[in-house]
């Protein structure tokens, strides 16, 4: 980092203002974006930092969502524990699947992540007693946030807005941890592996082990995002684990720019708003969205953030 601007804090404070804009719709949109931003950021730990293309990242998002929803709804476990459990369970599955995945490289790695994700999807789709099968789980309760009433200024808000504050705080916290991870020596090693895995091996890095660690961390944060999404969405469904969801998060990351820390979050923001605006006006949204994406990807090969920072550099030089 060349200049120490506390971006996380700035964005966090700006996002905090959304409920005061007056429309519940903006709060709802902002919650969606914040959660998906975390999901995309977790993928970027693999994609942008370690150079591993995962086609099955939605599996961990879905596992987190199911874990949290099942614990909260069926077992009545409080949100704090369910949320933590969602991350741990997703991380555990990432470990189990990752052990196999990191044995392969490039497209084989990608295909294996996809295979594991589809297996997980099939289990969620079929295991009626636990996951609710095709219909999933609906009516996941909002966490009990009555404590927030005691905080001055927040007492007047309705539960969805209170939940937004919780989401924002948890996502910001996750961003801080992710930033710490990528800037730590461990994170730097991941970058080395991305740039040149053979060389990394030669200088004595246990490449597979590092890749596995990145895989587990990415799965863990995806699980946390999934837990929040399940509550926000009031239900979890097998769709959340389907490969289309994995593709969606991959697009977010590429669109925003996998080369920068904030890229995936910007991608999540842009894709969510694009989707919302376009589907509101036409049912031929795949055509419009596809065209917009093609243009964006061709004009900004480094993603939106990549293009912006290139422009900023050029301005500074001029």
């Amino acid at each position: 980092m060349t200049h120490r601007i506390p971006w996380i804090l700035i964005v966090f404070l700006a996002a905090l203002c959304v409920p005061w804009l007056g429309s519940r719709f903006y709060t709802f949109l902002a919650t969606d974006i914040a959660i998906l931003a975390l999901f995309a950021m977790s993928l970027n730990l693999l994609l942008g930092y370690t150079g591993l293309v995962s086609f099955g990242h939605a599996a961990y998002f879905g596992i987190g969502a199911y874990t949290c929803a099942i614990l909260m709804q069926t077992a009545g476990v409080p949100f704090v524990f369910s949320f933590a459990a969602a991350g741990l369970v997703a991380g555990f599955f990432a470990l189990v699947f990752g052990v196999f995945c990191v044995r392969l490289t490039k497209i084989y790695f990608a295909m294996l992540t996809l295979a594991f994700a589809q297996i997980t999807w099939a289990i969620c789709f079929k295991w009626n007693d636990v996951t609710g099968g095709e219909q999933g789980f609906s009516g996941v309760p909002l966490p009990d946030l009555s404590l927030m009433a005691a905080i001055p200024g927040l007492g007047g808000f309705r539960p969805p807005e209170r939940f937004y504050f919780v989401v924002l705080a948890l996502v910001a916290l996750s961003f801080v941890v992710l930033r710490r991870i990528v800037e730590s020596p461990f994170g730097r090693m991941l970058t080395v592996i991305r740039e040149n895995p053979e060389r990394a091996e030669f200088i004595g890095l246990h490449v597979r082990r590092y890749e596995l660690a990145a895989f587990v961390l990415a799965g863990l944060f995806a699980g946390l995002a999934g837990a929040l999404f399940g509550i926000f969405n009031r239900g979890v469904f097998p769709d959340l684990l389907y490969w289309t969801k994995s593709a969606e998060v991959l697009i977010m990351t590429l669109l925003g720019g996998m080369g920068s820390f904030w890229g995936p979050a910007v991608g999540a923001l842009v894709l969510t708003l694009l989707n919302q605006q376009i589907t509101a006006y036409t049912q031929y949204w795949p055509l419009v969205l596809g065209s917009v994406l093609i243009v964006l990807l061709f004009v900004f090969p480094g993603g939106i953030v990549g293009a912006l920072s290139a422009a900023a550099r050029r301005l500074r030089r001029a």
Binding site: K126, E134, S138, D239, Q276, A280, Q283
Partner: protein, 398 residues
Amino acid sequence: MRVRRLLGAACAFAGVLPFAAAAQDIKVGFPMILSGPGALSGEPALRGAEMLVEEVNAAGGVLNGRKLRLIARDTKGAADEAVRVAREMILKDEVNFLVGTFTSAEGPAVSPIAKENQIVFIAPVTKTDQLTAPDKLHPYVFRTASTTTIEGRSAAELAAKLPNVKRVATMTQDYAYGQDTAKAFLDHLKKLRPDIEVVDQQWPKLGEADYTPFINAQMAKKPDAVFSSLWGGHFVTFAKQAKPLGYFDAIKNNFIGAGEAGAIETAKAMGSDYPAGIWANSYDISNWESGPQSHKDYIARLRKFTKDENPSSWPITGYVAMQALVAGIKKANSIDSDKVAKALLDITFDAPTGQITLRGKDHNANRGQFWGLMVMDPKYPFAVMAEANYLEPTKFMD
């Protein structure tokens, strides 16, 4: 990020403005599958709702001239997207009611959203019993669709009357809808005909491409009759593979195809390949000769509205759901969801197929389907339902 969000907010706000001008309209949100393969059914369901809106508005609207306005949004066939658009329509477009959703995942997913926003939600297509199960039922959710229980039991009523049937088998997909219909069918059949034996149950997966192993395994058990709930394109794939293997001949066409295997879309898709002689169901048919005048009039209007001589069987789903809503608004004399929800309990209205009642105890309609023998009629280039029978389900609903 903040700037972008403000930009988005500005765009969203600009989108709201035109709606604010026509505050007199009663806005109905219609989340429906409008893209992908499901659009083949979702799109016509929306057309049916549009037709009713046009008719009601042409007759002067409701509540002293207030017009109905339909706001349709694509759910992409995904439950989370259905939740997203439902919320958006409630929060941004400020719709007064929700009518819509298609799959058995979408309906139960949107139901809690209707509950927490206290908005009446009527499901026109979703059949799963889960939607109105006692632990999921709330004052605002209603269904004008048939249910898996009704569908399975209707098929059982039919099967029980087939001559010389002692050995029964099922061919249903291995997920909630297939499992629920098969169970409803077998449980009811055992009650009606304790002498019947269940000899085989095949569970192909949803989206199976090769049914041959399932077909062969089932034929080896020599059933006299088969119940299936393969729907839409799945039935087409299955029947095309089963016919050359002599499957339908082996069971003497004692095949009962639920899941709208008798729908005109399916018949059109298969043309002369359709296994004529089987029994199947459909939400609607355009050749109900013995039906009431109201249905004949409805079909005539639908032909004009859709400019299709053999209109789809799906518009009636959207049409009837909107009819229920309009009846509720009129009875409540208000667009307040709490009042309309109360008015909808035990309400009876005149659907094209006859009177329909939304039962107060479980918010389900006594919505039957057409069941009949599928035959090739020289008047049509595809199979049609002969002597169609609208099975009124009241007597075998719980």
